[in-house]
C-alpha cells in the first residue's frame, strides 16, 4: 500500500536534475516533519472526520494537522511545488483533477482510498410528489434539467472551478446530456451545451465551498432553494439536524454518478517520520473496525468488503461515469461553464479608497482587482466572466464614483482592459462611510435589475480598511435593510477585512445579508479570488 522512498534512489542524479537548475527555489529547505504529526492539506469536508481522527491519535500516536483548501486549488498548490515543504500529505475528496497534471501527479508517492460517496442531488422531500418523481429512486439528470428549465426546481451548487463536488456534478451532467458512452471529449461538451444551459438556469446559489451552501439552504427567506448538489454523505448528514419541513430526499440520478474516494495521499517530499506516520494512519483507517466507525460518523461508504455501510446509506448500484482523461477537456468544460453555460452574474464592488488606504494598501487593492481582469486563467477561477456585469463603487466620506462594465460574450479583452485602467486610476483620500455606500450599492442594484429585467447571480463585495465613521450609522442601516423587498434582501454582501477594519461591523453585515466574511489581511489577492466562487 505504501511506497516508501528507496534510500538508494536519493543519491541518484541529484546534483544534475531539476533541483539545482531551478533558481526560484534555491536550497530545498529541509522538510521539518515531526514524529507523530502528519501535516495535511485537505478539503474542508473532512472536518467530519474529527472524532475518528481523535481516536486514531490515541491508537497510532499520529495527530493530523489540517490546512483547508478546495480540491482544485489544492491540486494547483501541489503542482506548483508549494505543498512540498509545508505539508506531508494531501487529502481531498478525489485526486482526479490533480492526476491530470503530470507535475502534480509526480509529487504523490502513495495513495490510500479511505471511503467513498457519490455526488448527488438533495431535493426538498415535500417537492417530490409535485414534481412527479415518486420516491426519487428513478430520477434522471434530464428530469432534473427539465424541472430547472421550467422554473420548478431551484438549487445551489458549489463552484466547479474550485470544488470537487461541483466539478463532478458538471462532468456527470455533461456525460448524461451528451449521451457519451465513455470518457468525455470536447465534442461531447459542445453537444451537451444546450441542455447544460437549461439545467443551470435553475442554479440560484453558488459558493466556493459546500459548507456555506448547507448554511444558506437553511436560512429562512433568502434565496430559498429547492435542492442542493452535494455529496450524498453531506446531504444525508444534513438530514440528521434539519427540521422536518426542510429534509432532503437524496437523488442519485439513474443515468450515472461520479463518486469521491477520499485518497489519503503521501507527498513524495515528506520526511521519514511523516512517512511512518502516514503508514500507521493509513493502516488504522482501513481496518474493519475503523471503517465501521467512519461510515457511522460520516455516512460515507466503507472501502473494505467486510464492513456494511451505515444504516440509511443506499446500497443499490449506479453507473459510474468516467472522468475526462485530459486536462484540456477538463479545463475546456470548466471554462465553458463559467463563460457560456451558467447564469451570468451582476457583481458590485464597494471599494474603500479613504485616506488611510494611501500607499501600499491602495497598491495591494489595485493589484488584487487587476488580477480579476487578466486573461491567463484556464479554468476560470478569477477573471470577470464573459456576460458578467461588474460595477465598481469607489467610496470614502461618500460615494466618489460608480462605473458599470459588461464583459461581452465574445472578445472580452477590451472591456477587461477598461476595468483595469480605471482600477489603476483610483486615488485615496477622505473618511470612511461604509453603510451609506452599501445602501447606494443596493439602490444601484435595484435600478439595474429594473432596467435590465433579468435574473442574474447578484452579490456585493465590500472592501474596507477601517471603521465606518461618516454617513449612515449601523443601526440606521439595519432598519433601512429591514424595509427592503425580499428580492433586494436576497443580495448577499461579502465583506473583506483589510488593514484596521472593524471586524465586528463587517461580520454583522455578512450575517445580516446572508454573505460571508473574508480575511484579506494575509492576502488581499487571495480574498478577492476566493469570493469569485460565490459570485
Amino acid at each position: 500500500m505504501l511506497r516508501r522512498i528507496v534510500p538508494a534512489l536519493l543519491t541518484l542524479a541529484l546534483a544534475a536534475t531539476a533541483c539545482t537548475s531551478e533558481p526560484a527555489t534555491p536550497d530545498p529547505a529541509p522538510n521539518p516533519s515531526k514524529d507523530g504529526v502528519l501535516r495535511v492539506l485537505a478539503g474542508s469536508e473532512l472536518q467530519d472526520m474529527a472524532p475518528v481522527l481523535a481516536e486514531a491519535k490515541k491508537v497510532t500516536g499520529v495527530s493530523v494537522e489540517f490546512t483547508w483548501t478546495g480540491s482544485l486549488d489544492g491540486a494547483d498548490t501541489v503542482a506548483a511545488g508549494q505543498a512540498d515543504a509545508k505539508y506531508d500529505a494531501v487529502w481531498f475528496p478525489s485526486n482526479r483533477y490533480l492526476r491530470l497534471d503530470t507535475a502534480a501527479k509526480g509529487k504523490l508517492l502513495s495513495e490510500t482510498p479511505v471511503m467513498t460517496t457519490p455526488v448527488a442531488v438533495g431535493v426538498r422531500s415535500g417537492m417530490l410528489s409535485e414534481l412527479g418523481w415518486g420516491d426519487g429512486s428513478q430520477v434522471t439528470w434530464g428530469q432534473l434539467g427539465d424541472a430547472a428549465a421550467a422554473g420548478k426546481l431551484s438549487y445551489g451548487m458549489a463552484d466547479p472551478s474550485r470544488s470537487n463536488s461541483g466539478f463532478s456534478a458538471l462532468v456527470a451532467l455533461a456525460s448524461a446530456f451528451s449521451g457519451a458512452g465513455s470518457a468525455l471529449s470536447d465534442a461531447d461538451v459542445s453537444k451537451a451545451a444546450p441542455s447544460l444551459q437549461r439545467f443551470f438556469s435553475g442554479q440560484r446559489l453558488t459558493s466556493g465551498s459546500s459548507g456555506w451552501l448547507a448554511e444558506a439552504y437553511q436560512k429562512p427567506g433568502q434565496n430559498k432553494v429547492g435542492a442542493l448538489v452535494n455529496y450524498e454523505s453531506v446531504l444525508l448528514s444534513m438530514n440528521r439536524t434539519l427540521p422536518e419541513a426542510d429534509r432532503l430526499t437524496v437523488i442519485r440520478p439513474v443515468d450515472g454518478v461520479i463518486s469521491a474516494d477520499y485518497p489519503l495521499s503521501l507527498l513524495a517530499s515528506a520526511g521519514q517520520p511523516a512517512q511512518d506516520s502516514f503508514q500507521r494512519l493509513a493502516k488504522y483507517l482501513t481496518t474493519a473496525e475503523t471503517q465501521q466507525k467512519i461510515s457511522a460518523a460520516t455516512l460515507r461508504r466503507p472501502v473494505t468488503p467486510n464492513v456494511t455501510p451505515a444504516a440509511g446509506v443506499p446500497t443499490d448500484l449506479r453507473r459510474e461515469l468516467p472522468f475526462p482523461g485530459s486536462r484540456a477537456v477538463a479545463d475546456g468544460l470548466l471554462s465553458t461553464y463559467q463563460n457560456d453555460l451558467r447564469r451570468p452574474s451582476r457583481t458590485v464592488y464597494v471599494l474603500d479608497t479613504s485616506g488611510s488606504m494611501k500607499g501600499p494598501r491602495l497598491e495591494a487593492l489595485k493589484t488584487a482587482m487587476t488580477r480579476l481582469t487578466g486573461l491567463q486563467d484556464p479554468r476560470g477561477v478569477r477573471r470577470f466572466r464573459e456576460r458578467e456585469e461588474v460595477t465598481l463603487i469607489e467610496f470614502a466620506s461618500k460615494v466618489k464614483s460608480e462605473r458599470t462594465y459588461t464583459v461581452p460574450d465574445k472578445a472580452p479583452a477590451a472591456e477587461l482592459a477598461r476595468i483595469e485602467s480605471d482600477v489603476r486610476a483610483m486615488q485615496a483620500n477622505e473618511g470612511t462611510a461604509v453603510y451609506s455606500s452599501l445602501r447606494e450599492a443596493y439602490e444601484l442594484l435595484t435600478r439595474q435589475q429594473a432596467a435590465a429585467g433579468d435574473d442574474r447571480f447578484t452579490s456585493i463585495v465590500l472592501m474596507t480598511d477601517g471603521e465606518s465613521n461618516e454617513g449612515m450609522k449601523e443601526a440606521e442601516f439595519r432598519g433601512w435593510f429591514g424595509g427592503l423587498t425580499e428580492r433586494q434582501r436576497a443580495v448577499p454582501v461579502f465583506p473583506i477585512q483589510f488593514g484596521d477594519a472593524a471586524k465586528a461591523q463587517l461580520q454583522g453585515i455578512a450575517e445580516l445579508t446572508g454573505g460571508k466574511l473574508f480575511d484579506g489581511t494575509g492576502s488581499l489577492d487571495g480574498a478577492f479570488e476566493e469570493i469569485r466562487g460565490y459570485q
Binding site: M1, L2, R3, R4, I5, V6, P7, A8, L9, L10, T11, L12, A13, T17, A18, C19, P28, P30, N31, G81, D84, A85, R96, R99, L100, K105, G106, K107, S110, E111, P113, M115, T116, P118, G181, S182, A183, D255, V257, S259, D261, L267, A268, S269, G271, R301, P302, V303, T304, P305, N306, P309, T315, D316, L317, R319, E320, P322, P324, G325
Partner: protein, 359 residues
Amino acid sequence: MRRVIGVLVAVGLLCGVGYVVFLNSNGGADPKRVQVLIGSEKAEFFDDPAVAAEFKANGLDVRPQTIGSWSMASADLKDVDLAFPSSRGPAEEIAKSKGITAEPVRPFYSPLVVIAHKAVADVLQSNGLAEHAETNPWKLRMGPYLDAVKNNRKWSDLKNTAGHADLSGEIYLTTTDPRTSSSGALHLAAVSYLANGERVVADDAAVAGVAPLLKKLTDKQGDQKTSSDGPFSDFKSGVGNPLVLVYESQVASLKAHGIPMGDLVVLYPDTTVWSDHTAVGLTPEGRKMAELLRDSPKLRALEAQHGFRPTADQAAFAKALEGREGPTFAADLTVAQIKQAQVAAVPMLARLVEAAKGK
C-alpha cells in the same frame, strides 16, 4: 516508460527528499539485515508478522521498501540486497545492468483477472462475452470483448441488461494507469499480444498495428488511477465501473483470510498475463532470501495465504482457499485452459504504453 518514470522519480521524488537520512546497517548483528525493494502489491505479505518471523528464524532481518515495479530497474541499487519487482521485465533489466547471469528466481506469480458482480457476469455470459459451467471458474472471452471495444458496443446493445442501473454506456475494463502501475501495463501487453495475432509485439509494424486498439481502450476510461489499490477499493465500496482488472492475489488473499466479498465473481480472461514476481539477489543475503521465498514450505504457505501462487508448490494456492466461502478460483490455470500471453520486452512495452496514452 522507464524514461517517463525516471523523470517522475528524478523531479518528483528526489528534489524534496534529498535530505532524508538513510540509516544503513553495516551488518555485524545477527540476524543479518536484508534491504529489499518490493512492488506495492506485496506490501501486505511483507507486513505479515509471520513472514518476518520466518525470515528471522533463518537469520534474516528483512527490511522491505515499496516502490513501483517499473521504477526499480532505473533505481540506484547500491545497498539493496534483493530487488523483487512484480514482473519479469524489470527483473531482467536489473540482472542485466548488474551483470548477473544466474537465472532470476520466481518464487510466486499471480494472473491478472477481472472482477464483476454475479449479475453482471451473468449478463456477459448470456451475450457470449463470458463463459461459465458448473463449478468451473468463470472466463472472460477476450475475442468478443475486444470486438466490443473496437465497435464501441454499449451495455444497452446487450440483452438481459434491463433493471441494472449500473450497466449503461460503453463496455470496457477499468485498469490502472500503465505509466505508473504494472497491472495497467501488463494488460496492454496481453491485449497487444492478442491483437497481433497471438504473437508478441516485437517491431515497429506490430506496434503500429495494435496502437489504435490500445489507444481506444485507454481513451474510453478517461482518468485512470495510479495503483491497483484504487479501482479495487472502488469496487469493494460499491462504486466504479462494473468490470475491473485486478491481480488475482488481491481477491484470493481476502478469500484465504475468510473475508466475505458478497457476490463478487472472478473472471479469468481466456488469454491473460501472469504477474511473475521475480526476485533478483544482488548480494549473498539477497540470494539466500530469494531461495527461501521459493523453497521454504512455511513461506510458500504464507505466500498462498496472501493470494499468490507459489511456483514450486502448485497445490499450495488451492489449499490456502480450501473450505473458504467466496468466489471460485482456478485451482490450476493450465487445467482451466487459461492461456498466457507473452509479455513484450521492456523497451517495446514502453512503446505500447506511449501508444495507449499518447495524445
